[in-house]
């Protein structure tokens, strides 16, 4: 195609292409021709070529090779070429490209051009894609144009100044005096731009804000002029005189009047006048009215005015026009925090809007309803919200679900209601709830011990009905595992009990295990639950054994690990099985929240003996849908004197335990239990090294422990260090040891004092790691201390 072929011709050819492939071919040929043309010397058709390139760019094809051409065209003296060049710069260049720097000089020259249209092109381009350096360079030019030029240029210069202030906030001070002077302009376009500039300046800098408060009377005057003026053919839209300008001024007044009595007083009359006189039958009037309402609610207005404003919003809410209803809900959202009661009056209408067909209106209504939930109306609101959840569009489901959970948590009138609500949400929108819902719910269930029976019955029913909703299935499996005995007992006060046999329960769990709909985490839950049932049920233990052994060769590594370890429990440690699988203790709320978040990073770190606050090891394992170590399953037994179950405290949640800690927490290491004797107790004795522990000052929450180390062997020991880890919520402070050398044959000892602070009175355990050098080799060892000789346990 020849270069002078116009844009239209090319478009016609592209449109006549019948397939996407044909179109691509045409465009590629065209682009090749254009590229060739760009490389040649100046020819008459440069602007046409660039225009063609821009069209092709709009369709989505690469056009970056046109960037330099834009630069060349901008520098051309002809207006045609400049115009296209600037357009190309705005479409193809941005501040990240190097080529954009090259146009700075052209822009500078054009800003001083004799023709105002060339000036306007330069201003437009600067406002669209000016980088911070360009803005800094050209700011004085813009300031000059703001003061002395035609109103056409002034209005463009003000918007350019706004862009500059956004890019380089410090230049705001440069423009402040010019902006102030512009308020005296008569031209609405310039005034509009000036208000935008002042708004931007005030939002960025509080001193400027204070300065412009003095301009409030002037603004009020302009506004009054607009409101009371008669028909002016230029600016009137649907009977309102320049609604765009009115809206801008109202917004600026809002910013100026916020938190300031004098400014607010100056505006009160005006706002009352606008609110009563504006005709809201058309969009323009409504725009002005609702801006007025927002301003009234935001500044320190008199109460009569506020009442008027809320009534206007209420009227909007009942309007037939959906746009107006949407806008009124947006405004109500903004004021619901400050004027809660006023908005509560309209709760009925808002809840009705939940049933509107329009998705945007529904979304607004949902946000507003969630904000309006309070202790008084929780039951009725929840009914509506649950109804909404079952019919809402999918993009709103997860937001609605989490909103419902929050509301239920804050205002639940009773535990049972709370659990019912959560179960309802899980059954209707189970796939869309967030991950932490499962542990939160489980924790809630454990805490309401009187409802265990009720809960497990309901969950069992839900599980049998539908196993596709993963969070629900996870919670159900966990509960069945924990409270399966109440399920089997078949009696329940709160609800119709389900008559099940052990086989039924195991069938249900096996279905979950085998179903392709179950996620790996869910399978993990189900397997653990099956295992737990082995202590709750009496007859089908063999069935459980067979299930567990099947999964010993499962492909999923997590399941396989669990199954193998459960198998081991059956075979070698059968005597411990009952204790290991007994009921979980009530969980502490804070610990469940924290483990999920911080354990990944913080929980497991290098232990240093001199650090005052040591990272702690979690004791109470949390059920979670994450990868769990074996040690997670084992609840730290509450009774410290239980013999034999000195399996170490669980590792942190994510199982991504740092290497060191995993070493500390070896497998099923059995260490001898300690008699609870208040004297110095030997906690460790190996290869001659002996570590004794004694407690002093056994106060309730804090105690001091002294660890004494002696060396009975024949060789000296050097670099002897102790490191300690304690359960969560216990604070540990290790003082400096007395030394680090243990001479042979117990001639001297090393003592180290440890301060423990246990505010929550959790069961106190400590794991101590010793490391020393003996005969040239480094030795490391660990000891678990489960019971401390202290009455405060």
């Amino acid at each position: 195609m020849s270069p002078t072929v116009r844009l239209q011709e090319m478009i016609r050819v592209i449109r006549s292409a019948r397939t996407q492939g044909e179109e691509r071919g045409v465009i590629q040929r065209e682009c090749a021709a254009i590229r060739a043309q760009f490389r040649q010397a100046d020819n008459g058709g440069r602007s046409h070529n660039l225009a063609k390139l821009l069209y092709v760019h709009m369709l989505g094809y690469p056009a970056h090779f046109g960037q330099m051409e834009c630069v060349r065209l901008i520098a051309s003296p002809r207006y045609n070429e400049k115009r296209v060049g600037y357009l190309g710069a705005m479409m193809l260049l941005d501040e990240n490209q190097d080529a954009s720097l090259l146009i700075t000089n052209s822009i500078k020259n054009d800003l001083a051009h004799s023709s105002q249209y060339v000036q306007s092109l330069a201003l437009c381009t600067l406002a669209c894609m000016g980088s911070a350096e360009m803005c800094r360079d050209l700011a004085p030019e813009i300031d000059r144009l703001l003061r002395a030029s035609s109103s056409y240029i002034k209005k463009k210069a003000t918007l350019c100044a706004v862009h500059i202030v956004r890019k380089v906030p410090e230049l705001g001070e440069l423009f402040t005096p010019a902006a102030r002077a512009l308020l005296a302009e008569k031209n609405h376009g310039v005034l509009h731009g000036a208000i935008i500039l002042i708004t931007e300046l005030c939002e960025r800098n509080t001193q400027t804000l204070v300065q412009f408060r003095e301009a409030v009377p002037e603004l009020v005057h302009i506004m009054r002029g607009l409101v009371t003026s008669g028909y002016s053919p230029e600016h009137t839209v649907a009977g309102i005189s320049d609604p765009f300008l009115q809206v801008r001024i109202l917004r600026l007044l809002r910013i100026l009047g916020r938190n300031n009595d004098t400014a607010s007083d100056a505006m009160n009359d005006l706002l009352a006048q606008v609110a009563t006189n504006t005709d809201s039958s058309k969009t323009a009037g409504s725009a002005v009215l609702y801006e007025t309402v927002l301003t009234v609610m935001d500044i320190k207005s008199e109460s009569g005015l506020r009442v008027l404003a809320v009534n206007i919003l209420g009227r909007f809410l009942l309007n037939n026009d959906r746009n107006i209803r949407y806008i009124s809900m947006t405004s109500l959202q903004k004021i619901v925090m400050t004027d809660h009661n006023a908005v509560q009056r309209h709760r009925g209408t808002i809840v009705d809007c939940l049933k509107d067909q329009d998705a945007s209106v529904k979304r607004r209504a949902l946000e507003l309803s969630l904000a309006l939930v309070s202790a008084i109306n929780i039951r009725s609101m929840m009914k509506e919200l649950l109804l909404f959840l079952s019919t809402c569009p999918p993009e709103l489901k997860s937001h609605a679900a989490s909103g419902i959970f929050n509301a239920a948590e804050r205002y639940a009138p009773s535990q049972r209601w709370h659990i019912d609500t959560i179960l309802h949400v899980l059954t209707t929108a189970g796939g869309d709830v967030r991950d932490e819902t499962v542990p939160n719910l489980i924790q809630l269930i454990t805490n309401t011990s009187q409802l265990h029976c009720y809960t497990v019955h309901k969950l069992y029913r839900a599980l049998v009905a539908d196993i596709s909703q993963q969070p629900l299935v996870q919670v159900a499996c966990w509960c069945i595992g924990e409270y399966g005995d109440s399920l089997l007992r078949g009696e329940c006060e709160e609800t119709e009990p389900v008559q099940v046999t052990e086989d039924d329960i195991l069938d249900a769990l096996e279905t979950v295990l085998q179903s392709h709909m179950s996620s790996p985490a869910t399978r993990g839950f189900a397997l653990t639950a099956t295992m737990k049932l082995s202590t709750r049920i009496t007859e089908n233990v063999d069935r459980i054994r067979s299930i567990v052994s099947i999964y010993g060769s499962c492909i999923d590594v997590e399941l396989q690990q669990r199954a193998v370890e459960y198998n081991a429990l059956f075979k070698k440690y059968d005597h411990m099985r009952a204790a290991v699988l007994e009921k979980m203790p009530v969980m502490d709320r804070s610990s469940s929240g924290q483990t999920n978040g911080e354990s990944g990073g913080g929980g497991v770190q290098e232990l240093e003996p001199t650090k005052p606050k040591q990272p702690e090891v979690v004791v109470a394992p949390q059920p979670a849908s994450q990868v769990c170590d074996l040690l997670d399953l084992l609840s730290g037994p509450d009774e410290p004197s239980l013999p034999g179950t000195t399996l170490g405290p669980a590792s942190s949640m994510t199982g991504s335990a740092g290497g060191d800690l995993l070493d500390l927490l070896g497998g099923l290491e059995l260490t001898p239990t300690l008699p609870t004797v208040p004297a110095a107790v030997t906690v460790y004795e190996k290869s001659g090294v002996c570590l004794k522990l004694s407690c002093e000052r056994p106060l309730d929450a804090s105690q001091t422990i002294t660890l004494t180390a002696t060396n009975a062997s024949d060789h000296d020991i050097t670099a002897f260090t102790l490191q300690a880890a304690v359960p969560k919520n216990v604070q540990l402070q290790m003082k400096a040891p007395s030394g680090d050398a243990l001479p042979a044959r117990s001639s001297a000892s090393v003592t180290q004092t440890v301060l423990l602070h246990n505010p929550n009175k959790v069961s106190l355990k400590m794991r101590v790691r010793l490391s020393y050098i003996s005969q040239g080799s480094t030795v490391q060892d660990t000891v678990q201390i489960d019971s401390f000789p202290s009455p405060g346990l």
Partner: protein, 192 residues
């Protein structure tokens, strides 16, 4: 601030795209597709505001659109713009296009994409509303076009001739000439 202005037809083909914030090319096309997808699902009697686009960024942005025959005009704005005001602005823009192109239709937008850009530049600049008075906008556009044509070389010649005739100002012929008591009515000639 207006983040983007998109005009596309009922099948999603873009007729004008203008971004006031930098997005890479593929992202721009993705945004167009996503916006079309969201907007085309809407009925005709629902409200003109849409939220929930994820690509164009953030919770603060909404899409305000109007559907005229075969074209969707979509403005993507943040909370600093008045939503009803933008609706009116779209109307002003369309009426301006109508005036500049004389009964504008989709083909006009297709074949004169650059002119539409120039008109848009008079309405919105750098993401901010510049001028809302339709007559002012049209007047400025006319002046600029005139300037372009006055420079134009060969390619502008036929267009120049036509516009020269159109713009020819015929002297006003008085219809009623009052000379004392005699009223001579001159027959009205049709304008050129």
């Amino acid at each position: 601030m207006i983040k983007a202005i998109l005009i596309f037809n009922n099948h999603g083909k873009p007729r004008l795209i203008r971004f006031y914030q930098y997005f890479a090319e593929e992202l721009q096309q993705q945004i167009i597709r996503e916006t079309f997808h969201l907007v085309s699902k809407r009925d005709d009697n629902v409200c003109n505001f849409l939220e929930g686009g994820s690509l164009i960024g953030g919770s603060d942005y909404k899409l305000i659109y109007r559907h005229y025959a075969t074209l969707y005009f979509v403005f993507c704005v943040d909370s600093s713009e008045s939503e009803l005001g933008i609706l009116d602005l779209i109307q002003v823009f369309v009426e301006t296009l109508d005036k500049c192109f004389e009964n504008v239709c989709e083909l006009d937008l297709i074949f004169h994409m650059d002119k539409v850009h120039y008109i848009l530049q008079e309405v919105v600049m750098g993401g901010m509303v510049l001028e809302t008075n339709m007559n002012e906008i049209v007047a400025q556009v006319e002046l600029q076009n005139r300037m372009e044509k006055s420079e134009g070389g060969l390619s502008a010649a036929p267009a120049r001739a036509v516009s020269a005739v159109k713009n020819m100002n015929l002297p006003e012929i008085p219809r009623n000439i009052n000379i004392g008591d005699i009223n001579i009515k001159v027959p009205s000639l049709s304008p050129f």
